[in-house]
Amino acid sequence: MEMPPPDPAILARKAHLVARLAAVLPGDALIQDPRETRAYECDGLAAYRCPPLLAVLPRSTQEVSDILRICHEEGVPVVPRGAGTSLAGGALPTADSVILGVARMNGVLETDYEDRVIRVQSGRTNLSVSGAVEEEDFFYAPDPSSQLACAIAGNIAMNSGGAHCLKYGVTTNNLLGVTMVMMDGTVVEIGGAHLDAEGLDLLGVICGSEGQLGVVTEATLRILRKPEGARPVLIGFDSNEVAGTCVSDIIKAGVLPVAIEFMDRPCIEACEAFAKAGYPMCEALLIIEVEGSEAEIAHQLRLIVEIAQRHNPVELREACDADEAARIWLGRKSAFGAMGQINDYMCLDGTIPVGSLPLVLRRIGELSQEYGLAVANVFHAGDGNMHPLILFDANKPGDLELCEEFGAEVLKLCVDVGGCLTGEHGVGIEKRDLMLYQYTPRDLEAQLMVKDVFDPKWLLNPAKVFPLSISEDRRRAALAAE
C-alpha cells in the first residue's frame, strides 16, 4: 500500500513543533525520541509500518484542542489513535505526522441509569464501558471482538459492530452525543443525553468517518439493561448452502436472535485443534444465541430447532447450562487466535445480502483454489457481514501481495452481489484503492466535500479512506497554502 511521501519542510521543523507543543503539554504527554515513537508505527494491520514524527498523549479536551490548534497553524498532519487495534490501517502514521493518542483519557464522566446513558472519555476501552455499569446489570451493546482492548474513540471512528449487533445495532445506533475537537482547535458539542440531536445529523456522519473530521474526546452512549439470560444453540450442516438457507428461514419466521454466527469446515477444524471445544466435524456450523427469561429462551430455541430440523442438520446441540453455553462459544471466540497459530492471515470484512451467502462462499472456495491460498470463513451470518480469513506466509516473498490480490477479488465479489467492501472494520489504507469499485468518482466527491467542510486544510488522517489519486489535489492544495 502506497502512502504519500513525507513533506521535508515539516520534517525540518520538528524542533520548532516540539517546542510549541511542549509549551502547552506536560512533559510526559509528548513523545519525540525515535526509539519511543516506534511504538506508534502501526496498528492491527501490522504489515505496514512507519514511525510518526511525534506522538502526543493528552489527558483532556483542552490539551487536544491546544495540540490540534498548533498542528493546524503549523500545517502538520495529525493521525488520531484510539487503542491502535484497527485492522485496516486507520491509525497508520506517515513520517511527517503527529500521532494523537487518546488512551490516557479513559475516565467515566457520568453514569445515569434513569436516562440510560453513560458519558465517557473516548480513550476508555469498549469492555470497560460495560464494566462501569455492570453492578446495576446494564451493558453497552456494540461488542467488537477486540472489545477488551479497543477504545470507544476507535469504535466511533470505524462505526464498530460485533457479534450481537443483529439485535442491538452498531456504534452509530448507540451513540447519542460527542464532544469533538475540530482540526483548528474549536471544541463542539453534538447531541447529548436526549435521543435526537437537532439540525443535520452530524453525529451520523462523524460516526464512521475514520478520524478524518475531528477528534472525539467524550461520548454519550446508550446503555441497556441486561436480559435475564442468554443461551446458544449449535447446529451443524453438511453444506454451506443449507446452513445459509436455514439462516434465511429463521429470519423470515420472525425470530430475531441476538447473534447468528457461521463457521465453515476449515475454520471448524482450526478452532477444534486449538480450543478443543468439541465441535462436530461438518461443512458448516451455526451458533445462534437467543435472550430472555428461561421460558422465553426455551420457546425461541424450540422455534429455531424446528426450522433447523427441516434442513436435516448433522448435529444439534442446545446448551443446558452456563458451562455448555461457554463451550459452544469457546471455539468461535478463539477463531482468530486459532488461525493465527496456523499461519499469518488477512481478515476480510465485506458484507453481502444474506441471500447471497451460498453463492459467495462457493466462489471464495474457487478463488482459494486458483490462488493456492487456504481460506477459513467465520462471520456474522444474520447481517451478512463476512470475515473470510486468508492464510499466507509473511516470510515467503510475494505471498502477502498474492493474498492482498485474492482479498481484493473477494471484496469485489461482495460488491458485485449487492454488498459492500467493509461492514465493521473500516476502509483505512487497506480498502482505500477499492473504493472506486463500489462508488463512482462523483459518489466519492460528495464524501470529499464533507471533509472539506470539517477539515478544509486536509490535515486529519489525510491519506486514508479515499484512493490517493482522488484525494491528491486536495492534500496538495493544503500543502501549497502553507
Binding site: 439540525g199 468517518s209 419466521a253 420457546h299 463500489q438 466535500m449
Partner: protein, 382 residues
Amino acid sequence: MNKMLTPHSEAELAECIAAAHAPLHIIGGGTRGCAVAGDALTTQGLSGVELYEPGSLTLVAKTGTPLAEIETLLASEGQRMAFEPMDMRGLLGCSGAPTIGGAFAVNSSGPRRIQGGAARDYLLGVRFVDGSGQVIKNGGRVMKNVTGYDLVKLMAGAHGTLGVLSEVSLKVLPIPEASATVSLAVANLAVAVQAMSAALGSPFDVTGAAYDPAVGLVHIRLEGFAPSVAYRQEKLTADLARFGTAETRHSSEALWQDIGFVAAFAGRVGDVWRISVKPSDAPRLAPLLGAEALQFDWGGGLIWALTPEGADLRTCMAQAGVMGHATLVRGSGETLATLGRFQPQVRPLEEISKGLRQRFDPRGLLNPGLMDTASMTPGVMG
C-alpha cells in the same frame, strides 16, 4: 405563477434540478408541513418498490412510493417498518399520501425510537440528486456498511436541503406475534417518568413508553412471541405496582398509533411544538411551558406541547437550563417567521451545517431557508 415539476425517473429529476434557476420546494406526499416558496418539485413520478427480500429483511423503493403501498406489501410477508413513521395529516390538517422519501427526509420516528431506533437507523442506502444536478449514491442494501462516510444518516432528516432523494433502501423487521400494553394510573408527571424509567431500565424489552397527562395514564408496550409477552407483562405489572395500579390491554395498535401521530392535538387551535430532552428533565420543564395540552413519549424524552400562538418555548428551555431542542411543528406563517421552525444551533455547528449546504446545494435551490435557522425565510403551512 409557480410551476409544478414532476420527473418520472432519476435522470429526469437530475435534469430538472440542473436546469432550475429558481428555488425549488421539494414535495413527497406534501403531508409534512415543510412548504417553502418556489416552484414545486414532486417525487410522485418516482414510485414503486424495486426489490424486496423478506429473508434479508431489506426493501428498496423509489422515494415517491406511498408509505401505505409499502406497508401493505410488507404485511403480506408478516413484516413492517419498525420505526413507525409518523402520519402528520391529522395534526397538520392536510391531505395527501405520505411517501417513503418524505418519511426519511424528515427522519420521522415513532414510539419505538426508545428501543429499535429512529428512521435513520433503518435507512441502509440512498440515491439522491444534489443541488448541482449530480446523482450520488451512498450506503447500500446490507445491514452493516462502513465503506466511506455515512451520507445516508446525513440525508435522513436533512429535509431535502442537501439533495432530493430518488431511491432508498431500508431494513424491515418481522411483525411480532403478539403485543400488549400495560397502562398504569399515576399521580403526576414526576411519578410517570419514574415509572417509565423503571420499565425502560428493566430487562423486559419495552418498545413503547408514553404518558398522557389528560387521563393520567402511563402506557408501556411489550411485543414478541405470545408466551414471552405474557410473561413480561406479568413481571412488569408487579414491578410497576409501586407507581400505580395497572391494567393490561391486548389490542393496543390504535392507542400507539394515536400516540405516534399525536392525534390528541388534531383539530385543536394553537402552535404545536416537539421537544427532545433527557427524560429526567421533563418533570422540571413541562410546567414552565405554559401549554394547553401535553403528551409525553420516549419515556418522557419526547414532549409534544400545544401552546397559545406565538409562545417561545425555546426561551423556557434556556431559562430552565434544560439541554435539548424544540421544533415548531405547526404554527402560523408569522410565528414560524419569528421563531423559526428549528432550534438555532451554536455557531460552530451552524457553520458546519451551512458549509455542507453550500457544497451540496451551491446555488441555494433546494428548500432554501427551511433548515437555515440563521436567516429564516417565512414558511407556509402545507
